[in-house]
């Protein structure tokens, strides 16, 4: 029997595997201001944990490879792809999903802007678009340049159609609702959108100093963000 051990597990090993199952880790996830103690299979993405363990199905699984942005959530106030984040590694971070954006006073201004501008068609990418837009507006307020910024050495951000398209290019919309998403994001940038519901949930405030965001001209343009 000695040479068979290389191929087949012993009875003891089989029993151990059966009782242990795949390696798991006990973590506490802070989601939308609530603490959730969970036993997580080490392989589980944050997206799957949100959807399957916490029944927060707002965050969507599009590609599951970080290419579409439908899974975008805010981690410590910053936008991130939850499909490429291991749930076990998210312990200690404040996670905000689309379900955590509205408060007693109403919808988050970005949510409201998407409604006002009809910035969706089927809606599948919308939760990711909204979370991404909130993170993006914070980045712009902090003065972060983008690939569309002419001189990266200059301080200050002027958001216009090109800037919004570039900064939102991590969120694909198969319906092609970009033509309404861009104005919605610009509305939110301009209006009362400087309020940030997600901040109230974040344990660590995003390291975003206050800087002004100016809105540029918004000439009508039907080009998609990923042209």
């Amino acid at each position: 029997m000695e040479h068979a051990v290389d191929v087949l597990p012993t009875t003891d090993e089989s029993a151990a595997t059966a009782s242990a199952g795949p390696p798991t880790t006990r973590v506490t996830l802070d989601v939308n201001g609530s603490e959730h103690p969970l036993d997580i299979d080490n392989r589980m993405s944050l997206l799957d944990a949100l959807r399957e363990k916490l029944a927060l199905t707002g965050s969507k699984k599009g590609c599951d490879h970080g290419q579409c942005g439908a899974c975008t959530v805010l981690i410590d106030g910053r936008r991130a792809n939850s499909c490429l984040t291991l749930a076990v590694s998210a312990e200690g971070s404040a996670i905000t999903t689309v379900e955590g954006l509205a408060d007693d006073e109403g919808l988050h201004p970005v949510q409201q802007a998407f409604l006002d501008r009809d910035a969706y068609q089927c809606g599948y990418c919308t939760p990711g678009q909204i979370c991404s837009a909130i993170g993006m507006l914070r980045e712009a307020r902090a003065g972060w340049p983008s690939h569309a910024t002419h001189d990266v050495a200059l301080d200050g951000v002027v958001l216009d159609d090109d800037e919004v398209r570039e900064r939102m290019s991590g969120n694909l919309c198969r319906c092609g609702a970009y033509v309404n998403i861009v104005p919605a994001v610009l509305d939110a940038a301009e209006g009362s959108a400087m309020r940030d519901a997600a901040d109230s949930h974040a344990a660590h405030a995003p390291d975003v100093p206050d800087a002004s965001v100016t809105r540029g001209t918004t000439a009508p343009d039907t080009t998609a963000a990923t042209r």
């Binding site: 080490n42 490879h65 340049p145 991590g170």
Partner: protein, 328 residues
């Protein structure tokens, strides 16, 4: 996905101790590693999460350069005013890469170690000498449009997919690493390697080592620099050919120049031949074209990616013209 154990490193030392066991991988931003876990390309037994370790931020150095902690996120590096003013090519390279979400996640150290996006490497049902040594390279007679034209071998024509590393190559960055035997460092040109007969290794990083920082030496004309990227869509796509360049011109003469090409080789390609060709030359279209031709003379493209030779030349010449603006 294969199962794996998970632990959070509490110190660089503890991470190095864990990484001493074969089958262990460090987890930083995860933007490439988690994807490769899902695809079955990476199959570690243990992941050591180094995200909570403090590798330091972005510090100016005495020689006018910068020291960047390995954990600094791509988005923070691109947004840093010292980076944007001293080395705009680096900020631009970072901003041309991936998406806002991914840049928030990706770390400096992890980004240096991202794997090729060759479709055969990413598909475990296909042979690939990089993933499965000796199994062959179907890319060479196959879908090679995105793959290498310089420094390729008969075993692998994969390209390094990064943008940040191309800018860092032009800048001659130093990669600082730590090992259980103590710290060491690599000039970035010596860090990355060509595939040769062993494409499994992308870099000369010793087994079990951890990148701790990236140092950019001071470069006074670093402020006159840029990064250009040609890709199949205007945003959120890997480069077909990219150019990172910095140019120092005085009285119409090229005093010094730094050039690196991306999307053309297994490593970010320092265009040393073009640089040498340009030093001391008049700033003219003819000298720019001659430099590009000299660099690309060694190109060995496939039928599918032969366009990259012409594209690289135009990109390089166009970038130099842009940087020389006003001196011609």
């Amino acid at each position: 996905m294969k199962t794996f154990e998970y632990e959070r490193a509490t110190s660089v030392r503890s991470a190095l101790t864990s990484l001493g066991t074969p089958g262990t991988k460090p987890l930083a931003g995860g933007t490439n590693l988690v994807d490769l876990l899902k695809l079955g390309v990476e199959r570690p037994d243990l992941l050591v999460d180094i995200n909570r370790l403090d590798f330091g931020g972005i510090e100016p150095t005495d020689d006018g350069g910068l020291l960047i902690g390995a954990g600094v996120r791509n988005s923070d590096l691109a947004a840093d005013l010292l980076v944007r003013t001293r080395f705009p090519l680096l900020a631009k390279a970072l901003l041309s890469a991936a998406s806002g979400q991914l840049r928030n996640m990706a770390s400096t150290g992890g980004n240096l170690l991202q794997r090729t996006r060759c479709t055969y490497f990413m598909d475990t049902t296909k042979p690939c000498n990089k993933r499965d040594p000796g199994s062959g390279c179907p890319a060479i007679p196959g879908a090679s449009r995105e793959l290498g034209i310089l420094g390729v071998s008969n075993d692998c024509i994969a390209t390094h997919p990064g943008d940040m590393a191309v800018a860092l190559t032009a800048l001659g960055a130093i990669i600082h690493v730590d090992t259980l035997d103590g710290p060491t460092s690599f000039e970035i040109g010596e860090f990355y390697r060509l595939p040769g007969a062993d494409p499994t290794r992308d870099t000369n990083l010793p087994a079990g080592a951890l990148i701790t920082a990236v140092e950019i030496p001071g470069l006074p004309f670093g402020a006159v620099s840029t990064y250009r990227k040609a890709r199949d869509r205007a945003s959120y796509a890997f480069g077909l050919v990219t150019v990172a360049a910095a140019l120092d011109v005085e009285d119409g003469i090229v005093r010094d120049v730094r050039i690196a090409l991306g999307g053309v080789s297994h490593k970010p390609w320092r265009a040393s031949i073009a640089e040498e060709s340009l030093r001391g030359k008049l700033v003219t279209a003819r000298s720019f074209e001659a430099a590009a031709d000299a660099e690309l003379a060694a190109a060995t493209p496939t039928e599918q990616n032969a366009f990259k030779v012409a594209l690289a030349k135009r990109m390089l010449v166009g970038t130099l013209h842009e940087l020389a603006g006003g001196h011609e």
